[in-house]
């Protein structure tokens, strides 16, 4: 049977397993991805089944992990790299920005860099510093990278398949606090394109655009708003680079209002890009300015404050109300 209910974590694990099984060039690399199966168990059992040559525990050096993955890609491999937590991607940032993103262009297309960098990201799990960040804008600004984030198990399974099959480097942000959320996964369906947004809930009064962990919050907000008689459309953007602006435009042309929601700080965040572009595209359709709900311009706070820091139901609804009040 191709349809099974599973958690996002399990879906990602199944997806890696399938990739390793199908393509001998696929490798899984990272810290503790072997026997431990990764700190979130996304690679659980893979080393046991595919061996140490395919599922590789690396030295603790993120630049080294991505740098050697680039070399392996040049040799014809398709490395899927795990960065243990969002806050630890920065030692690899130079390799990602100056090498991984640019080498294809540097070679005028003569080399391809099919490297996936998986990053569990975002807050909500009560963790210590550096374990709850949402740095997606820092990658989406960089040409040469593709940046995506699934919000549910089915997308987790399929988007990871597509990312691995992509000949471009993909930064794959996994919403860690949704790892244990279950959904039906049809491993034989034909998935949406990797970079297409999806209408997660149809509505007519206002559009909420989100991705990753915030899709669930937006769906809850939409349900709550419905009780107040407001019809809220929720778009799951799925991709932060490219962004499916056409889908957002279509929705905003109908609703006339847009709120973008993400965990990352609002300042210079993806909401800014969406607001700027959609305002340009839909200037005469917008009844209110595009509003943004997201993190504050502050380091991700200690765990006991994260409930306040993270955009939740109430903050989303507040923005919906503010938008509708225009």
């Amino acid at each position: 049977m191709a349809v099974e209910k599973m958690s996002l974590a399990k879906a990602l694990n199944e997806s890696l397993r399938k990739a390793l099984d199908t393509d001998p060039k696929v490798l899984v690399m990272g810290e503790d991805v072997g026997k431990l199966g990764g700190v979130f168990r996304i690679t659980d059992g893979l080393q046991k089944d595919f061996g140490e040559e395919r599922v590789i525990d690396t030295p603790l050096a993120e630049s080294g992990i991505v740098g050697t993955a680039i070399g392996l890609a040049l040799r014809g491999y398709r490395p899927v790299v795990e960065i243990q937590f969002d806050g630890f991607v920065f030692p690899a940032y130079d390799q990602i920005v100056t090498q991984l993103a640019k080498m294809h262009a540097r070679a005028l297309g003569k080399v391809k860099l099919p490297v996936v960098v998986r990053i569990p990201y975002g807050g909500g799990i009560g963790a210590v510093e550096h374990h709850s960040e949402s740095p997606e804008a820092l990658f989406a600004h960089v040409a040469g990278l593709k940046v995506v984030s699934p919000s549910n198990a089915a997308d987790g399974y399929w988007m990871l398949q597509q990312a691995i099959q992509s000949d471009d480097p993909v930064i794959f942000f996994e919403p860690k606090r949704r790892y244990w959320d279950k959904a039906e996964v049809d491993t034989e369906s034909i998935p949406d394109p990797l970079h297409a947004a999806r209408v997660a809930r149809a509505g007519t009064d206002i559009t909420l655009a989100a991705y990753g962990p915030m899709v669930k919050v937006c769906l809850e907000a939409a349900a709550a708003a419905e009780e107040e008689g407001k019809s809220v459309e929720v778009l799951d953007l799925r991709s932060m680079s490219p962004i499916d602006f056409d889908a957002v435009q279509r929705s905003v042309e109908r609703t006339g209002r847009l709120v973008v929601v993400h965990e990352a700080p609002v300042f210079y965040g993806s909401g800014a890009e969406i607001a700027a572009r959609i305002t340009e595209r839909c200037f005469y359709h917008l009844e209110a300015p595009v509003l943004r709900v997201g993190g504050f311009h502050a380091p991700y706070p200690p765990a006991r404050l994260e409930e306040e820091y993270l955009p939740g139901l109430d903050r989303v609804l507040d923005a919906v109300d503010r938008s509708l009040a225009y």
Partner: protein, 396 residues
Amino acid sequence: MTVENTAARKPRRSSKRVSAAKKPTSSEPQLVQLLTPEGERVAHPDYDHHVADLGPEELRGLYRDMVLTRRFDAEATALQRQGELGLWASLLGQEAAQIGSGRALRDEDYVFPTYREHGVAWCRGVDPTNLLGMFRGVNHGGWDPSSNNFHLYTIVIGSQALHATGYAMGVAKDGADSAVIAYFGDGASSQGDVAESFTFSAVYNAPVVFFCQNNQWAISEPTERQTRVPLYQRAQGYGFPGVRVDGNDVLACLAVTRSALERARRGEGPTLVEAFTYRMGAHTTSDDPTRYRHDDERAAWEAKDPILRLRKYLADQGHADEAFFTGLEAESDTLAKRVREAVRAMPDPDDMAIFDHVYADGHALVDEERAQFAAYQASFSTEPDGGSAAGAEEGK
């Protein structure tokens, strides 16, 4: 006496490998040891004089430090289980490495720890409860590094080695008679930042000691995933000495660290100390070591316990009587109680603390967001005209 690394030696003698012996190395690493696992004091020509000043009182002091640290650590683990802390990184097994090196420091020396140096913090006089804030989730550290010359815990592994090097460059510029010590783990030794700190400290001849606690594991990865030769040898290639010390021998750790600090203060530059020890517990309370290592390995290291061997020595030498040991137990209980109570009483930070200390000189956007958030929060308040859900509920 310099003895061979016993973990590596046994399988060589029996000429077949036992599974717990996971450190086959090309060259036989030298391990500085002053106190055997059996509690026997052995001589070492290079290091004896560094502990010659230790009388019974000082030895009891080291013992007390280790016992209290272990007790504090156990209490913190318990507090995590009880939900009072979100996480705890236990130092169990590494007491000698931390107390030995920590007690080698002078007040004016400066420490850059990782996230596990609770024993070093103890030596610096940092109130143990101060360490718990970040593990409870009420702050990211928050203590004043300059009060005890003990920097904040650093979670991004290896980063602090560069801070230590820079600080030491400053010490040298100031012509100060002090030194700096940077702690990091065997796993962190692979980070480019650590290598760069070796380069900078060597080139500028900075008065810094790199104290690597090789506890054999970086979460689930054994040290072989980081190096194929003993870590202390890394220093050589950068032009400064490296030494491997028995990390479960508090005397040897004290002696070796004192020697390295003196060298630094004399203007002879950096030293790498590899304290060969063992992480007896899980990586943190979130970790499950049964997935990747065998119990027999742990058992082998239990026989080398840092506290037991000093206890034997103290008892054998008549340096401590039963009253001392029972008194210490009572003191441990008091400490544990104090920590427990302090943690439970630790208040959650105010919501608005999110916006505090982002900048020293202020930032317009932070001010704006703070004001907006305050207004937003106030909209849920109980004021009669509040239209929010909270207000409505209160108004029933």
